[in-house]
Symmetry: C2
Subunit: 242 residues, 2 copies
């Protein structure tokens, strides 16, 4: 497959000064923060970063002269906000509440990463079928082909709902659950690969090492999806004579 162990040894966190040239203590100016975030969120702007502060989503420190000074925790917070907007279409009000709840549960000094994504939705199999507008047999069918797994307790979450909904639409096109096993295999392979790739990171003894490794896997997965998506768009243009 694509990535073997050769890749692992080369894993290196970017040197502290290699990205935005931030100064002592790892504090960054608003411009440096912008540079970092734009890699993953290209439509970020200065005015947006200021706006997010005005809305109470981050509280960077200030220099005596009033310049904002962002810590890496602030950047992690911003990344959480931007991800929630991009991937979950949440309004800022909701994101702010989630951040506040996480701060409550985990004092600011210890908060090194985004809050654990709470699974909010808990559906029984019957509810799952109803929400996705499919027959219960369809859900069982998906489950038998390894595309769904219930949590301990027998309930299903939002991702399960997404799987059933999408599978139902694919079935409209004649693509049935049994045709979808390859998707499960591909997803597992990808997760396994990236998890192994960051394994050295996770083994470090620093406090946040594990959380950082988890973040890194998510970032790799996200990059992987964007790559696939761009290649498919390019392929479609060729095939459809864009």
């Amino acid at each position: 497959m694509a990535f073997r162990a050769e890749g692992i040894a080369r894993i290196a966190q970017p040197a502290p000064d290699s990205l935005g040239g931030e100064s002592a203590k790892g504090m960054m100016s608003i411009g440096e923060v912008l540079t970092h975030l734009r890699a993953e969120f290209p439509d970020t702007t200065l005015s947006k970063l200021r706006f997010l502060e005005a809305e109470g989503l981050v509280e960077p420190e200030r220099t005596p002269s009033g310049y904002r000074k962002y810590s890496w925790d602030d950047v992690a917070r911003l990344r959480f906000v931007l991800t929630a907007q991009r991937d979950r279409y949440l309004p800022l009000r909701v994101i702010r509440e989630q951040l506040a709840a996480a701060d409550q549960a985990r004092p600011a000094l210890l908060a090194v990463g985004p809050p654990p994504a709470e699974p909010a939705v808990r559906l029984t199999r019957a509810e799952l079928a109803e929400r996705a507008e499919v027959a219960p047999e369809f859900v069982r069918d998906l489950e038998q082909h390894g595309l769904l797994t219930a949590w301990a307790g027998g309930w299903y979450d939002v991702d399960a709902l997404a799987v059933v909904t999408v599978a139902a639409r694919l079935a409209d096109f004649g693509v049935e659950p049994r045709h979808l096993r390859a998707y499960r295999a591909a997803a597992d392979r990808e997760v396994g690969l990236f998890t192994q790739l960051v394994a050295p990171l996770a083994r470090q003894s620093e406090p946040g090492a594990l959380a950082r490794a988890a973040e890194t896997v998510r970032e790799l997965v996200s990059l992987s999806e964007r790559l696939h998506s761009a290649l498919v768009r390019a392929g479609l243009r060729d095939a459809l004579g864009g």
Copy 2:
């Protein structure tokens, strides 16, 4: 090379009414249009579709009682608008001007698809490297591994930029261009599969048949990506003990 007739017949063709239940002449209600577009653009809403009409970006027909009736051409137009918003961050005013210019050049009766997605961004290899902040050799490396192709004329578009940017970030993690060939193969396979799946649709002689086939391919690709994404999220939760 749009939808050639080779090796098409073996795949079952979805019955005309299996997709959104649209009625005669392939005209659709606003709700049916919403269902179709949501596959690729999940944040589409009824109010947004009405808004886009109010802003003059589409002009669906009306039934005698005032209900909107969308053609496949209208859907293609909407797709062009939504794509421009998502991928190029264009304001509606600009998109409207582009559509108007395309209508000018190609009378409405002949317009079977979105205007030739003018690639707005035209980068030379050097510019591409600069915008992605990588060395020119990196770009050539990607090209040699089949991840990039220049348009006739030797220039690159936004998707090329996306590929280079993402590949550069992956390289930070030790995943190099030569490891990425599998992505290209997977993307090609997916496009080929879905294109064949709708080939019978494309061969029909009805007016919007080709546009509709293209629409369907995009929808399949989008569903496929959402399925993959949901399965990966579920897999991550297992692997990381979410």
